[in-house]
């Protein structure tokens, strides 16, 4: 497996692949891999001739009081896991390579980023869109694969790619879960054993919401009342948001008529976890 650290080498490598007719499949990550990341890499392996995985903990998407410094990292373990999952290249740029002196350009997707994590984490999606625009220009992929766990991120990236006419396909893959339903996240390592138990309130809320929807409930307020009441009774939890939104606009909706998503962000202890359910889709939670 190739490890590439500079933008120039990455661009030359991908340009040569493209010119020889090879299909480049890209999985952008912040590293510290779990099965969710590995499932994206396996999908990339199926869809591309060359699988590029980037590992970069992007400072511009973290707020000043967030967990940038303590975000978990383990390059050697990640390298081995990526190789086993079928990656051909790890792109591992430095901060100096990504944001050199005089850096000053940002991409703003203005509407779909206003609600949910955009409200709770000002500047987060500006950082996400910017680093993805940069990475896409570096890796020049034919397709890039993202997890649906970060649903608003996926919508934002799709919107940016369409709006800026970036010539690549964005693929969203289902959330990978622990056996008991907890969505996999690099941040799960922050949880104490008691918090790990409380963290199940997110996936269980999705399951409750799906059940209500399947029984015919279409009033967003009634579903949310049920969910927030339930989460408030779980120890060590604090709801950051619990909303039902249009998947097109990411604005709150009252009635579940067009495609809609229930999105949750809950602090469990001091760890902020997110999860979501697109109404009408499958949900494999026991």
């Amino acid at each position: 497996m190739n490890i590439i650290g500079t933008v120039q080498e990455m661009q030359r490598y991908s340009e040569a692949l493209r010119n020889s007719g090879k299909r480049v499949a890209f999985v952008p990550t912040m590293g510290y891999f779990h099965d969710g990341h590995l499932s994206l890499m396996r999908e990339a392996r199926k869809r591309g001739d060359c699988v590029v995985v980037s590992i970069y903990v992007n400072p511009t998407q973290f707020g000043p009081s967030e967990d940038l410094d303590k975000y978990p990292r383990n390059f050697e373990r990640d390298r081995q896991l990526a190789e086993d999952a079928g990656a051909d290249v790890i792109f591992f740029p430095s901060n100096a390579e990504m944001y050199p002196e005089h850096y000053q350009t940002y991409v703003n997707v203005e509407e779909v980023t206003k609600n949910l994590c955009g409200l709770s984490r000002p500047g987060h999606f500006r950082g996400v869109a910017t680093v993805c625009a940069k990475l896409f220009n570096m890796v020049k992929p034919h397709l890039a694969i993202f997890g649906k766990k970060d649903f608003q991120q996926l919508v934002t990236i799709k919107r940016m790619v369409a709006d800026l006419n970036m010539d690549l396909e964005i693929v969203g893959m289902p959330t990978t879960r622990e056996q008991d339903g907890l969505a996999m996240s690099s941040r799960n390592v922050y949880l104490s054993p008691e918090e790990r138990q409380s963290a199940l309130c997110l996936s269980r809320s999705l399951k409750k919401a799906k059940e209500l929807f399947d029984q015919g409930e279409r009033d967003a307020g009634r579903i949310l009342d049920e969910i927030t009441g339930y989460i408030e009774g779980v120890p060590s939890t604090r709801i950051d948001y619990a909303r039902i939104c249009s998947t097109t606009t990411m604005k709150d909706i009252d009635r579940l008529e067009d495609e809609s998503v229930m999105a949750l962000a809950v602090f469990v202890g001091s760890t902020r976890l997110i999860d979501n359910y697109v109404f009408g889709e499958e949900l494999n939670i026991e």
Copy 2:
């Protein structure tokens, strides 16, 4: 010559050229060609295997009270001039193709756009950077050629390309002038005969500034006092700005030590004209 109107056709056309080893040279324009545009196309002809010229009057870079609606247009004349100058393709997208429903993504180059036209025309460079990012993703050029008359625009685009790691070269070409020194501009057609005479105050100011610099003057304030005093005495003129800035940061400077530019924006009647001089460079004004 090929005329292409859709993003998809343009991308497929350029991707095929790139894959066959051809070099794509791009000249983005708002049309209504004068010799300045044609000189950029002739340069593109020298540097590329295929010359693509876009014609698009971009609404997002015009302010609400600006001249979007009356901006001069003449496609048939432009088509002939571009063909004579060596263009292979005119890319001529519609507003619906460029900014479809739900459009919401903008590129902001935050620092070099603060001064000069960025002060006078809020949102202008956001529109310029965004449309150039889009056009570069559509045309996929190896190089793009811009005139130095729009100096702050050139600095902004270079900054965006470097920051977002767009894999193309940006080439700046000297300003083309009328015999009497007036910088060529599509907006010169707005000038009455008397205003056309007053409009010479811009190029004559540059020449005065160059003479002062060549005589050893390095105090920006003294050069600007001389220039503004001169322009204020010319009929039908109103200075929008007259500044001396660093070409790296585009911030005002007091002493001409590192590379610096004198930038002028002057209303002549109701027509706003710009011009600039990078100290130390040639200036062919009689």
